[in-house]
């Protein structure tokens, strides 16, 4: 089992009555609520926290891309990844991901990731995403082409990394007379590719056919993950092989404290801050962004999304987060990672308003009391 530390870099200073006064933390959430003076300390502390994950023995760190929102302040995850290449020596740096349709031409992504891969000594994981619904409003990109642009940009990036240049690329959306990027990535044939999804069969087939890794998008009920990974395994079987657990990743908020009661007391406010303020408006779906079938599925899963939960009981029953003493967290991870059959655990505790001190305390407890156990369990399962 590989254990990653996932960061969103959220804005933790929204007013208490935010959800009454504003209808979204996205697109229209006024940026007058952002304070650059506070932002300076915040960014630097968040980067310290990511670097601390290496010290604690995590296998990797994850950064991701979002635009014009309070939920995640990494409009350019590649910039943060660049800093992390200098702050770390060993950990994988998973950029999950770049929203391919937002880059034009996407050759820029092939270049930046190759730079990062070379500079980091081959530690980059390339996450390719379509981008969230809100991003299509914020970036003016036509959502009715999201899927086909994603496919085409993916093809361009892979070709840029694996074909000898210069060559021409003549797609519907991207036309380049010369594709010949310098540098080329260090990892061969190219950095590992992770693609997140929330159950779309099309995406699963795409990932399975290419033997990439599929990451379940977090903040859904555990049943959604179960169904998703089962379907992914089926998709791999259809392609004539059995999915490797490392082809599947489970992203889940995890908070550890000395006792169950203390963990809840310290983490619950942060979780509700996240669910009620930062997730507000994330589910806006621009026209044409999904097929009719997927749109219906999204509507159906709405009740199984963290933002729709009302009580701590809902959170616990749906396993929207794992919060407790080291023993509790150990048991739950052990149970569910076996049930899901996953080989990558993407943990994170700083998606809401939890303080840096508490976040680091939780990471430290997780690393010393939980991580060794789940690694040895995974070893046993393998043997």
């Amino acid at each position: 089992m590989k254990v990653f530390f996932f960061h969103l870099m959220p804005w933790p200073y929204l007013p208490d009555d935010f959800e009454k006064r504003y209808n979204s933390a996205w697109i229209w959430c006024p940026n007058s609520l952002y304070d650059p003076v506070k932002g300076r300390d915040l960014y630097n502390s968040y980067i310290d926290t990511l670097a601390y994950a290496e010290e604690l023995g995590f296998d990797g760190v994850c950064v991701n891309e979002h635009h014009q929102n309070a939920y995640g302040l990494m409009p350019s995850p590649n910039l943060i990844a660049a800093m992390l290449t200098q702050r770390t020596r060993r950990v994988k740096i998973a950029i999950i991901g770049n929203a391919l349709p937002l880059y034009n031409p996407p050759i820029r992504i092939a270049e930046e990731w190759a730079m990062l891969d070379v500079i980091s000594g081959g530690r980059i994981i390339a996450g390719m995403v379509i981008g969230g619904g809100p991003e299509y409003y914020s970036y003016g990109v036509n959502p009715t082409y999201a899927r086909e642009q994603f496919r085409e940009a993916h093809d361009l990036i892979i070709q840029a990394w694996t074909r000898e240049g210069p060559f021409s690329f003549n797609g519907k959306h991207y036309r380049l007379r010369y594709v010949n990027p310098w540098p080329r990535p260090l990892q061969k044939p190219h950095p590992p590719i992770w693609i997140p999804g929330v159950g779309s069969l099309e995406t699963m087939d795409f990932v399975a056919q290419r033997r990439y890794a599929y990451m379940g998008i977090p903040y859904f009920h555990i049943d959604v993950f179960k169904r998703t990974f089962d379907l992914f395994r089926e998709a791999c079987e259809k392609c004539g092989y059995s999915a490797d657990p490392e082809q599947m990743g489970w992203a889940i908020p995890i908070y550890v404290a000395e006792t169950d009661a203390k963990a809840r007391e310290e983490f619950e406010p942060s979780l509700w801050y996240f669910a009620r303020k930062l997730l507000k408006g994330i589910d806006i779906t621009p026209p044409g962004y999904t097929s009719l079938k997927s749109a219906a599925a999204i509507l159906q899963n709405r009740g199984k999304f963290m933002a729709s939960q009302e009580t701590w009981d809902d959170i616990e029953k749906g396993v929207y987060a794992i919060v407790g003493s080291p023993a509790t967290v150990r048991d739950m991870i052990d149970h569910y990672s076996k049930e899901l059959g996953i080989g990558n655990l993407l943990t994170g505790c700083q998606m809401g308003s939890v303080s840096h001190e508490l976040a680091r305390k939780s990471m430290q407890l997780f690393a010393s009391e939980v991580m060794p156990y789940i690694r040895s369990q995974a070893e046993e399962t393998r043997e």
Partner: protein, 261 residues
């Protein structure tokens, strides 16, 4: 009066067309609201004209959206329809998105347009009077209703945009928004080049607008009026974005009166 829905092949695109009435042909180009079934205003126009009301590609049962990337592609689609029908010169009435298509068609093929009616039409950029973001209100029927109707609480407004739409209504609107976004996401529901091409429209043109149109503000009516030499403007009081629904009688009277004058 008899009306029927036909499925015809327009240069390879299966296209739904409502046909009804008697008299010279009138091409009605619908809005993103997808008024693609026979309604009282069609009936009113059909007293004097043979009304042809095709659904644009991707709307209702019409296919071929994958070949539509820009408003230009829709113009070509309707040029194909003209050829198929053998039309030399016909009256065109276009509402909102359909008005945009009609204006784009008329600047390219002015000789094919007899008289032109633009109803609450998209297509232009007007500084300080942006077209409201209908795509941002998809999940809120209340917001859409107040954007589109003079009286959002009227029986009609509640009927057309109910708080709890039926699966059929949701499907129709899902397809409509997708097809509208295809050509209208960015630039937002307009073509930056259309305004300086409007001088090419030679047909007598009626610009018909609801006074309290909050989706496409009245400033756009003035911009069309300024750009099209041979145009007249009629503003309907206590009327929002869709006069054919909210003021059916006045709409029919104004359009028929203009086309027959």
């Amino acid at each position: 009066m008899i009306n029927e829905t036909r499925m015809i092949d327009v240069a390879g695109k299966r296209t739904q067309v409502l046909v009804g009435g008697e008299g010279p042909p009138l091409l009605y180009l619908h809005s993103a609201g997808s008024e693609t079934f026979w309604l009282p205003f069609h009936q009113g126009l059909a007293q004097h004209f043979t009304v042809y009301a095709p659904a644009h590609p991707g709307f209702a049962e019409s296919e071929g959206l994958e070949e539509i990337d820009t408003i230009e592609d829709l113009v070509f689609h309707y040029w194909d329809l003209f050829d198929l029908m053998g039309w030399e010169k016909v009256n065109i009435v276009g509402a909102s998105l359909g008005g945009w298509i009609a204006a784009e068609f008329a600047v390219r093929y002015p000789e094919k347009v007899d008289r032109l009616v633009l109803v609450g039409s998209a297509g232009l950029w007007v500084d300080d009077a942006p077209i409201a973001d209908l795509f941002a209100s998809l999940l809120s029927p209340e917001r859409l209703r107040s954007m589109i109707f003079h009286d959002p609480n009227s029986f009609l407004a509640q009927l057309l945009l109910p708080a709890q739409p039926s699966p059929e209504q949701m499907l129709l609107s899902f397809k409509a928004m997708q097809a509208a976004a295809r050509v209208g996401w960015n630039p937002f529901m307009h073509n930056p080049k259309l305004r300086r091409r409007l001088y090419r429209i030679k047909s007598p043109t009626l610009i018909l607008w609801g006074e309290s149109d909050k989706l496409i503000p009245l400033a756009h009516a003035h911009a069309y009026h300024e750009g099209i030499k041979n145009s007249q403007m009629v503003i309907l009081k206590q009327c929002g974005h869709l006069p054919m629904f909210e003021k059916t009688e006045e709409f029919v009277k104004a359009v028929v009166g203009f086309l027959r004058s």
